[in-house]
């Protein structure tokens, strides 16, 4: 199976911030969630994958080609959704349609029109009058209307209400029904990613902390609860982080080491937060 995205030691040095030897692989037919706090390097990674910035080191393959040197035709097969609608606010849906038809050789006008109808996007209304959700849907419609095999979405759910977020996830799940298609999505709203993703890649201060199959990840950790003495007695190598409170302690710990204590399932959000904030083992 060919991989949709391969990053090997991907690095970018901005001086004040460094993306440091990022490694992950997105297999074709899968959805990968890119998670991490603000400024962790998610958007930088996405910009490098799209060839919008030049990497300082490492190798990248997107649909089998290096985005920095590939012919523009590679981008026919990549649908991109950024954190806000990229089309000038004075334009209408019809204007966007004309631009996409001029930009993409494989632009499917009928598909764009049907998505516009499905998303209830008004044809003649200017984009500046669209709601945040409508703008996102317009971006999605544009990304899905030129035969994309790979969708790259950078924080598409930020600022969206739960209904709009759920609709977006449905669209992604529908897109991935074709097993030649793949999705890379970065988001702060980890519960959304937990619903939709096959893989999770966690970036923290410019480095990949883990890049794993979601189900393996969720099965790997538990939140163990107990007294300070019980938590301190856990195998230190298996503990990711500890939270100490007035009424007891909690630790994110590998299942094998924490199952003997009272424990509960760890969500992706728990795992990320313990990695970032629960440093005191």
């Amino acid at each position: 199976m060919q991989n949709a995205i391969e990053c090997r030691n991907l690095s970018k040095d901005y001086g004040v911030f460094k993306l440091d030897r990022v490694n992950f692989t997105l297999p074709t037919g899968c959805i990968m969630g890119l998670i991490g706090e603000n400024g962790a390097g998610k958007s930088t990674t996405i910009r490098l994958l799209l060839g919008l910035a030049k990497r300082s080191g490492g190798e990248v393959k997107v649909l089998g080609a290096d985005p920095e040197t590939a012919e523009p035709e590679l981008r026919e097969e990549i649908g991109v959704v950024m954190d806000d609608c990229p089309f000038p606010e004075s334009m209408t849906l019809r204007d966007v349609r004309k631009i996409l038809a001029a930009a993409y050789r494989h632009f499917d006008g009928a598909r764009f029109d049907s998505l516009g109808l499905k998303f209830s996007l008004p044809e003649r209304q200017k984009i500046k009058e669209y709601s945040r959700g409508m703008r996102m849907k317009l971006s999605i419609a544009a990304a899905l209307s030129h035969g994309s095999r790979l969708l790259i979405l950078d924080e598409p759910t930020s600022g969206l209400d739960p209904v709009a977020r759920d609709e977006l996830l449905d669209i992604l799940l529908e897109f991935i029904q074709d097993e030649r298609n793949s999705v890379l999505i970065s988001s702060h709203i980890l519960s959304d990613l937990e619903k939709a993703c096959d893989y999770i890649t966690f970036i923290h201060t410019g480095r990949v902390v883990f890049s794993e199959e979601k189900d393996e990840l969720l099965g790997k950790y538990v939140i163990a609860k107990g007294s300070e003495r019980e938590i301190d007695a856990l195998d230190r190598d298996a503990v990711v982080g500890v939270r100490r409170g007035a009424f007891g302690c909690e630790a994110l710990v590998e299942r094998r080491a924490g199952e003997h204590l009272t424990h509960e399932r760890a969500s992706i959000e728990d795992i990320m937060l313990y990695y970032i904030k629960g440093d005191a083992k």
Binding site: L52, P88, S90, M91, K98
Partner: protein, 200 residues
Amino acid sequence: MKAVLMSDMMVIKSQAKSVLLVIVVWLGITIFNKSGLFFSALSTVYAMMLPLTCIAAYEKSHFDRYLFTAPVSRASAAMGHYVFSIICALCLAVIGFAASVALGMSVREAAYSTFACFCIGVVMVSVVLPVIYKYGTEKARLTMMAVFVLFVLVFGLLFGALDVDMDSLWDALLLLPLLTVAVFAVSAAISVGIYKRREF
């Protein structure tokens, strides 16, 4: 390049009312003054302002970044605004030429003056676009004003100091296309270089 041209047209189309209003007001002043040259001269500035308007709209929505995620080469994206400027300048030149002839100027004189204004417009666009690409539209607005004032001063001083007669001016116009092509070529090369190095 087709995508950039289409985008530019869509931005200007969305401002069609104000663009048409400006053209109508200028035509009114032109008819009132009985001087087609007035329209041609002002159109040089407008040819420079229209792409600036488009690029400002792109900067606001990050559309330029989006373009590079589409199958649009950086070189063609850079050149798209030049071509759009030239199309605008040509359209305005046709109106200016027609107005000049309609107001009694000879066809030869109207053609020469319109052509001179067109060339000056292209030169001004060529000076401004690389600055826009490099520093963005806000800083480029100052450059645009400076370029316009410089042109007015240089031409004004030349005419005033040298007491140029019209025949020798027409002769000098023969050099204008060469100068225009040279400035355009250098500017385009610089702009393509800037776009190729640009990161988002």
